[in-house]
């Protein structure tokens, strides 16, 4: 599986029945492809839609029904539409259970930067500042490194998206949670060792107690420690 799909599939495990979820553009969008069977998730598009469905069949696109990037989408039965103030009322008012956003950097406190590179690229924050400030849970979906350099850094060199720490960072190498204000490695992806993750991360990571059990063989090998056996 390619790195992007690996990330998206892991994030889909965070979905629960009945959740209202907003997916950013890029990797986050792919999460919709991996919704676990048997649950219904409401996907919000911040341009004013809950119940966003897949891309329409050829010839079926409607110019008045798009995602936040202006690309044609469909609407599922039970969809609803609303103006932009209501859309962000849902985001800010505690109604959005989960948002998945791309990231340029995350600092040691778990704070995201994802909306500009001074002097180079100023796309604007769009809805990102509201999403991070307002969603109940914030998950960052990003590759672990860019051009070989860690994206999880001690001090962000880019403007923050919010002072609020994100809840979870999922990369093609690892799953890192922000616990008590500290970045905590809670899982490594299949075939990835803890040391590999640590080497690719500028911030010192706490190793979660559950990692030994959840990470199984890969983790144990990377720690070069004998199996402690039987841990659940």
């Amino acid at each position: 599986m390619d790195p992007q799909s690996t990330i998206a599939r892991r994030i889909a495990d965070e979905l629960r029945d009945g959740m209202l979820v907003n997916l950013g553009i890029g990797i986050p969008t792919l999460v919709a492809n991996f919704v676990p069977a048997g649950i219904r998730v409401f996907f919000q598009s911040e341009n004013g839609l809950i119940g966003t469905g897949p891309v329409p069949e050829p010839g079926m696109a409607l110019p008045w029904l798009t995602d936040a990037g202006g690309r044609p989408v469909t609407a599922l039965p039970g969809a609803s539409t609303f103006d932009s103030a209501t859309s962000f009322g849902l985001i800010r008012g505690g109604h959005l259970d989960l948002t998945v956003l791309g990231g340029l950097q995350v600092d040691r406190h778990g704070r995201l930067s994802n909306w500009m590179v001074p002097g180079k690229m100023v796309p604007g924050m769009g809805g990102a500042m509201d999403l991070v400030a307002g969603a109940r849970r914030v998950v960052v979906a990003m590759q672990h490194t860019a051009k070989g350099r860690p994206k999880i850094v001690r001090e962000s060199s880019l403007p923050l998206t919010s002072e609020r720490a994100v809840d979870l960072i999922v990369t093609e190498l690892a799953v890192i949670a922000v616990r008590d204000g500290r970045l905590t490695l809670i899982e490594t992806m299949e075939g990835v060792t803890v040391n590999e993750v640590l080497n690719m991360t500028e911030v010192e990571l706490i190793i979660a107690p559950e990692l030994a059990s959840a990470g199984a063989e890969a983790v144990r090998r990377s720690l070069s420690a004998p199996s402690t056996g039987g841990a659940l």
């Binding site: 409401f42 039970g78 539409t81």
Partner: protein, 215 residues
């Protein structure tokens, strides 16, 4: 969204809870929920609503049954029993200008700390309020309001909880449906998913916690 019986819906409400109740002079108030609160004798409630309707009508039934400790409303002029309890000291009445009340509730549901309005400036409604100047004009800072429960009346709910209101029964209902920790809806009509077109949904399903089941 879960369906729930009328009895179980009201059983969730503890004594002393703060309720937002939709309706305007009883129009758009979920009467079955009100009747069940009276039957279960929930006490010491705080109600946030436009008004206390009239004796025997809507929120007026809660006043009649002396179940309210405090109301936050814009007027009580058509309910002499509310005025009687207020003068007797058994009911606290916080009067809020109607447009301010609507915005404070909306702010609570939309994740805003409050809004600035010129309404009430220079009147007793400004007492205790922070005054803030924007572009040389004074405004009152009116803080957000939230509740433990919102009791919402809808004309139509679909199986997912998408809501539509009808005519003047809309009033405070869609605002309150956003502004409480637990949102309970009583609908005149429950319909299959898709019967309400996306553009006609006035409250999106994900904000609804409980829909009171028929009979």
């Amino acid at each position: 969204m879960k369906t729930i019986s009328l009895q179980d819906a009201v059983a969730m409400i503890p004594a002393g809870a703060t309720l937002m109740v939709g309706g305007f002079m009883g129009v758009g108030t979920p009467e079955p929920l009100i009747d069940e609160i009276v039957r279960q004798q929930k006490k010491d409630l705080t109600v946030i609503a436009n008004d206390t309707a009239a004796p025997g009508v809507g929120i007026g039934k809660l006043v009649d049954a002396a179940l309210l400790r405090r109301v936050v409303v814009s007027h009580i002029g058509l309910n002499p029993e509310t005025q009687r309890q207020m003068l007797a000291g058994s009911l606290t009445v916080d009067l809020v200008p109607q447009g301010t009340l609507a915005e404070r509730i909306r702010a609570g549901g939309f994740g805003l700390g409050g809004v600035l309005t010129a309404t009430g400036i220079g009147t007793i409604a400004e007492e205790g309020k922070q005054k803030i100047a924007v572009d040389g004009r004074d405004y009152l800072l009116e803080p957000a309001l939230r509740a433990d429960f919102a009791l919402v009346h809808a004309f139509i709910a679909d199986y997912l909880g998408n809501l539509a209101y009808v005519l003047t029964a809309r009033n405070f209902n869609p605002l309150m449906a956003m502004a409480a920790d637990t949102v309970v809806v009583q609908a005149e009509n429950i319909v299959p998913v898709g019967v309400v077109a996306p553009d006609h949904v006035m409250t999106p399903a994900p904000v609804v916690d409980y829909l009171v089941a028929n009979g």
